[in-house]
Amino acid sequence: MAISKTGGWSDPRVRGAVYQVLAVGAVIAVGWFLVANTIHNLSTRGIVSGFGFLERPASFAIGETLAAYSPADTFGRALFIGLLNTLLVSALGIVLSTVLGTAIGVGRLSVNWLVAKLATVYVESVRNVPLLLQLFLWYTLITQGLPGPREALHLLPGVWLSNRGLIVPAFDWTSLSFTVPHLAGFNFQGGVALSPELAALLFGLTIYTAAFIAEVVRGGILAVPRGQSEAASALGLSRGQALRFVILPQALRIIVPPLASQYLNLLKNSSLAVAIGYPDLVSVANTTINITGQAIEGFAIVMAVFVAISLALSALMNWYNRKVALVAR
């Protein structure tokens, strides 16, 4: 198919160039319209654009902080605290849901009919109900259903559960010992406290994400060709040995990409914290936007952070995929 030398509409290069110019032009035109309106609207409301607001004092308190913070600190610092909170609940959630999800996923494939059915009931009930509903339920259970600190439930040595949250022993790095919390007056002293908001968010995220991870793990194990487990049986390997040496190593390669996307979902779902009052990044950014009116900049920061984390995780996963790819000619 000879390229028309004279140019003109039948030349695919000319057509391609025209389409691209049209598309980009349309996007720019729409963007221009939106931006012009926005600038006008912002100025009528007396809002100054730019990121200067990050240096101004925040003047609002944050309930839970991993680092030092006071209302006299800047908005920038407040956002940073929010980010730390998001990372905390996401990291803990990822670890816990992976453990629970793997157990349930393997359980669904169990030879024991009762265990398999129970695991199925768990997965189907959790997956088909909105996460926010589950979060509201756990949060209300903790704040209204649990007794006060004086009648707290003693779950394990040093671990208490009450409507003021979950208290666990604190690990002291300097002396390498545990500080066990004890009841003093109306509340506990010592130990590490997870507020009801954090406890509910963490519990809800873990239960919810574990159901999806269970399906990913189950799918990965089932995707290993049946001939592999037959060959392992024919060689006399027990079911446990076959799982450990033949099935799971191959299943891992299949599991990792969708597992990574579940982790990303957990990270994004942590933003529901705003609905139960846990000060994560989105929640703090929202407060900041409400106070300063700098909606564009605020949302831009939130989007940039989330997209950066997503890209980092994608890059990590691509690296892992290349590293464990099955060697073929």
């Binding site: 691209q20 912002l42 030879v111 009762l114 509201f136 209300t140 933003s271 609905a275 989330f306 997503s310």
Partner: protein
């Protein structure tokens, strides 16, 4: 007997597990059934009756069901919301049968949604006008999710084709949109829609909250649907493209008649899954002040005498969501099986 042996007691660890589960069931189930059914109160205007019975207080649902299902919609006009919901649910159920899929169904959908919108809004045919701020409960959830997916569909196809385009500018624009939207939480997108749309529009023009949320859902779902459509496009064998070219079809004809029909058929399971996800995601509108099914339930619980019965409230709402989502996911699995055998896999 041998079934018992094989499935429950095949080895010592298994036998122990079975005994553990059996013991736990014996301890938990009878009291649970007693609470949920035996001592439960089903109808009572006064929460004091629930306190006296010490069982499940389903009376909370039966007393407040109008508010939970329809939100702030005017009491006398709620029959309109009921009909609108029934129409949408009925059409959803009918759409799950593959044999009914053709151009007529698409037209019926558009007409039905239009009729539902007119019923809810009113203002003509003698129906009193009900502003969208007062829409709530099940009708709002249904409308947001159905229009969300339906509206996202054309945009998703454009994005998917754009992402596969050889023209760098178009591909860059598509990729940027898809990756940007898929990287951020829906909460942020809803906030952005709610706060920024008024800024984007010329002074004097305002759009109501429901419309802002609806556009937010459409833009969000489009990015995910685009990936589903892209997967479908990738599964169409190259030979189909080549055969279409060899027959002399133009690009538009090739896409419309040969490629897209096959691609969309392959993409149906992930598309249905996205609908299920969007249906659950409508629960997030609580953060921008709209009253979907979950928000009405939560608000109903703030009435002080009914506050202790949050378990009953959330369980009831959960059952409604579960019914929809479970049915839809079964349909998705069934469709996947039917499509596999249809293509002879």
């Amino acid at each position: 007997m041998s079934w018992l042996r094989k499935n429950l007691f095949s080895s010592v660890p298994n036998a122990l597990l079975t005994l553990l589960v059996a013991w736990a069931s014996w301890r938990i189930l009878p009291p649970l059934v007693e609470w949920a059914f035996g001592r439960a109160t089903w109808f009572a205007g006064d929460p004091a009756e629930c306190r006296a019975a010490a069982g499940a207080c389903w009376a909370f649902i039966t007393t407040k069901h109008r508010f939970i299902l329809f939100g702030l919609y005017p009491y006398e006009q709620q029959w309109r919301a009921l009909i609108a919901s029934a129409l949408i649910v009925g059409l959803l159920a009918a759409s799950c049968d593959r044999r009914l899929w053709d151009r007529r169904l698409a037209v019926i959908w558009i007409v039905t949604l239009f009729v539902a919108g007119v019923l809810m809004l009113g203002g003509i045919f003698g129906l009193p006008y009900v502003p969208s701020e007062q829409w709530g409960g099940l009708p709002l959830t249904l409308i947001l999710s159905v229009v969300g997916i339906g509206g996202a569909f054309p945009l998703a196809i454009v994005l998917a084709l754009g992402r596969r385009s050889r023209l760098p500018a178009i591909r860059a624009l598509s990729v940027a949109y898809i990756e940007l939207i898929r990287g951020v939480p829906l909460v942020s997108v809803l906030f952005m829609a709610s706060v920024m749309f008024p800024l984007f529009l010329p002074e004097g023009i305002s759009i109501d909250k429901v419309l802002r949320a609806q556009v937010g859902f459409i833009l969000f779902a489009a990015a995910y649907l685009a990936e589903a459509v892209r997967g479908g496009l990738q599964s169409v064998p190259r030979g189909q493209f080549e055969a279409a070219d060899a027959l002399g079809l133009s690009t538009a004809q090739k896409m419309r008649l040969i490629i897209l029909p096959q691609a969309l058929r392959a993409a149906i399971p992930p598309i249905v899954n996205q609908f299920i996800a969007t249906f659950k995601d409508t629960s997030l509108v609580v953060i921008i002040g709209l009253y979907d099914l979950l928000t009405t339930t939560k608000t109903a619980l703030t009435d002080p005498p009914w506050r202790p019965y949050y378990v009953e409230g959330y369980v009831a709402a959960g059952l409604i969501y579960f019914a929809f989502c479970f049915f839809l996911s079964r349909t998705s699995q069934r469709l996947e099986r039917q499509l596999d055998t249809a293509t002879g896999k």
